[in-house]
């Protein structure tokens, strides 16, 4: 498990990351969301040791992380680019060797990955000769070399076409099912919701929410929607509830006292038909908006 504890980084007077703590459990995908300048990239760069840490620490399997640990991590920086004028096989082998892989093993692994991403025929091509989508694929391969112990990916899906997103997702799922912790940042909340087991929300350098998607959606004040056979106006008079929205036979209520929702159902059935009574969980985007507001 990767643990981030009270991580802090200042740039002059500006505290870019302010005592941020969260966990990236083994075998889970953790989504890292937050607006521009929220501190996601700075946090990831500190985790990768690319940027110095002012306060706090990063733990790997319960002990402070070392350079050698980081060397086994896969990392995709925010801005992309490799060597434009070098054949893709050569530069990927170079990166794998820098990460400590022996030459022959590096070659085998890179060739396998290139074939998997449909680039097996183009190993000798210079990176700049490839289409943008294929360049992204090479970038993905670079970040998962060698078979990583953990993955730290900064906006891995930005700029990918839907097919590349799918193969990226497949690849990530493969890693998590092997027990590898994955942390990735993204602006695409729908994607985060679809993929992530856990979520960390950052705003202005602070962690404002963290947990599994279900935990987060259940965390707020419970809301229920009630659809009746007749007019729902009487709901306003019920105690322990706040009516957020009322439209003819439909009411949206927030429960402020435990059990108030049970009394509401009882009252409704005694008054006539109840077509629908359902717990409304906010969409991730709503939680995100509230948390970062």
């Amino acid at each position: 498990m990767l643990e981030i504890r009270e991580l802090t980084r200042r740039f002059g007077d500006n505290t870019a990351v302010d005592h941020v703590s969260f966990e990236v459990p083994v075998g889970q995908m953790t989504g890292f969301v937050g607006g521009n300048g929220a501190g996601k990239t700075t946090t990831m760069r500190m985790v990768m040791g690319v940027l110095g840490i002012d306060e706090g620490e990063v733990l790997w399997h319960g002990r402070p992380i070392t350079r050698l640990d980081r060397r086994t991590f896969g990392y995709m920086p925010e801005e992309r680019g490799l060597y434009p004028k070098q054949p893709i096989l050569d530069q990927l082998v170079y990166i794998a060797q820098l990460k400590g892989l022996e030459r022959v093993a590096a070659r085998t692994q890179v060739t396998e990955l290139l074939e998997r991403f449909g680039l097996g025929e183009r190993t000798k091509d210079h990176l700049e000769k490839l289409s943008l989508g294929n360049q992204q694929r090479v970038q993905i391969i670079a970040s998962v070399l060698p078979r990583p112990a953990a993955l730290i990916l900064d906006e891995p899906f930005s700029g990918l076409d839907p097919r590349a997103v799918d193969s990226m997702v497949d690849l990530l799922r493969e890693y998590t099912s092997d027990g590898i912790p994955v942390l990735f940042s993204s602006h695409q909340l729908d994607l985060v919701e679809r993929l992530c087991d856990r979520l960390v929300v950052l705003s202005h350098g602070r962690r404002v929410a963290a947990g599994t998607v279900t935990e987060l959606r259940d965390a707020g004040v419970p809301r229920f929607r009630l659809v009746l056979g007749g007019d729902a106006g009487w709901v306003r008079d019920q105690r322990g509830l706040e009516v957020l929205d009322l439209d003819g036979a439909t009411a949206l209520v927030e429960v402020h006292h435990d059990g108030a929702e049970q009394r509401l159902v009882a009252e409704a059935t005694s008054r006539g038909d109840v077509h629908e009574f359902v717990r409304v969980r906010p969409a991730l985007s709503e939680i995100y908006r509230e948390a970062t507001a």
């Binding site: 690319v50 060397r71 680019g81 820098l98 400590g100 892989l101």
Partner: protein, 393 residues
């Protein structure tokens, strides 16, 4: 994953990538081949120029035939590579026609108080030199006879010869020429490879591949690999140029100088190595301070200035200034080899200068490493030296 035991050290991997990616680059190979052809061609041309006999045709009207004949006969004694043929013409008009139709290279005729060589539009230097000497001798001896004395009597005690207490007068000319070549080669290599190094640093910084590399290996190794790789390339290129130059020279009349040049050349290689490493680290810093290729122009200005100072200092300094500069790094990298060439250097002087240069290189490597490491991962615009130095990692 395999362990670190059987894998190469990171700096060596970086060095190899630098060398391989450059050496397989067509523009690098083409540039090197072009320089080799240029050097060989220049040496060949100089040798040919020196060897060939200069044949000139001199037109003379009847009033100048006697003097022209004297020039024709006297030419080989003045310059054995000049052969003058006499063309007798009737008058001025015929002489001018001969010039315009390229039958003659020059027309000799008396003017008030002397003689004149008229050419169509450009003079033949060799003819002018020979004619000047012969005419002077001829006229002097006539005048001396008229005054009742001899040329020898008139010229007695009037010669000035040169001699050096230290060094070898005969070698001085060759030393000057080779010294220029040394200074130029250093300037050229330091500028070309320095720029290349700086832009490859920017390439890595701009594309953020440096973050992937920084997460994998210490940046110290990246810098060391890049500096060593480019130094190796510059050295290979330099050795090729020097070898072509010295081998070429051994086919020319100057071949007797080759043994005398090899000692200073060996020293030059040593000074080049230390000087290049010192500057390479600074070039890497210039690259790391920029955030885009466009910034390199401004971040490298102090360095290009330094290069110019070294170039012109190396060429123009003499006397006490040269002696002092030959110990001051990094200028000593070009000035000391020049002094060694000229001769008259004590045995300890090059050693001391090389030691100082190596110490200077060690300092720039240390400072360069700190600046490079700090500036490299800073994004968002140009980084100032002060920022880079003071910033936390």
């Amino acid at each position: 994953m395999s362990t670190d035991k059987n894998s190469e050290p990171a700096w060596l991997l970086v060095t190899r990538r630098e060398v391989v990616s450059r050496i397989t680059d067509k523009s690098f190979l083409f540039g090197t081949a072009f320089m080799v052809v240029l050097i060989a061609g220049f040496i060949g041309f100089t040798a040919w120029q020196d060897e060939r006999t200069d044949r000139v045709t001199l037109a003379a009207t009847p009033d100048a035939v006697a003097m022209a004949t004297a020039i024709e006969e006297g030419a080989p004694q003045v310059d054995e590579k000049v052969e003058v043929t006499l063309l007798e013409v009737d008058d001025r008009e015929a002489a001018e026609t001969a010039l315009t139709e390229d039958e003659a290279d020059a027309w000799l005729h008396p003017v008030d108080g002397g003689w004149q060589l008229t050419s169509e539009s450009s003079e033949r230097g060799s003819l002018t030199d020979v004619a000047g000497v012969v005419v002077r001798q001829q006229v002097l001896s006539d005048n001396a006879a008229a005054a009742g004395t001899t040329v020898e009597a008139l010229e007695a005690g009037s010669t000035v010869t040169t001699d050096f207490l230290r060094g070898d007068a005969e070698k001085a000319g060759v030393a000057d020429a080779v010294g220029f070549v040394f200074v130029f080669l250093f300037y050229f290599a330091a500028l070309v490879f320095g720029m290349q190094l700086a832009s490859s640093v920017i390439e890595e910084k701009q594309s953020r591949i440096v973050e992937i590399i920084a997460a994998a290996i210490p940046l110290r190794h990246l810098l060391a690999g890049k500096v060593l790789g480019n130094t190796a390339l510059a050295m290979i290129q330099l050795l090729v140029y020097l070898a072509v130059g010295l081998v070429g020279l051994s086919f020319t009349p100057y071949k007797s100088y080759v043994p005398a040049l090899s000692g200073p050349t060996a020293w030059f290689i040593g000074f080049f190595l230390a000087g290049f490493i010192a500057l390479a680290c600074l070039w890497a810093v210039a690259g790391s301070l920029a955030s885009r290729t466009e910034d390199l122009q401004s971040t490298s200005t102090p360095l290009t200035m330094l290069m110019l100072v070294m170039f012109f200092g190396g060429l123009s300094l003499d006397g006490r200034g040269q002696v002092i500069a030959s110990f001051v790094p990094p200028v000593s990298a070009v000035v000391m080899p020049k002094r060694i060439l000229a001769g008259g250097v004590e045995w300890w002087e090059p050693l001391l200068a090389l030691g100082l240069l190596a110490a200077f290189a060690a300092v720039t490597v240390w400072i360069g490493e700190r600046l490079y490491r700090r500036a490299l991962l800073q994004t968002g615009g140009r980084v100032s030296l002060r920022q880079a130095w003071a910033t936390a990692e």
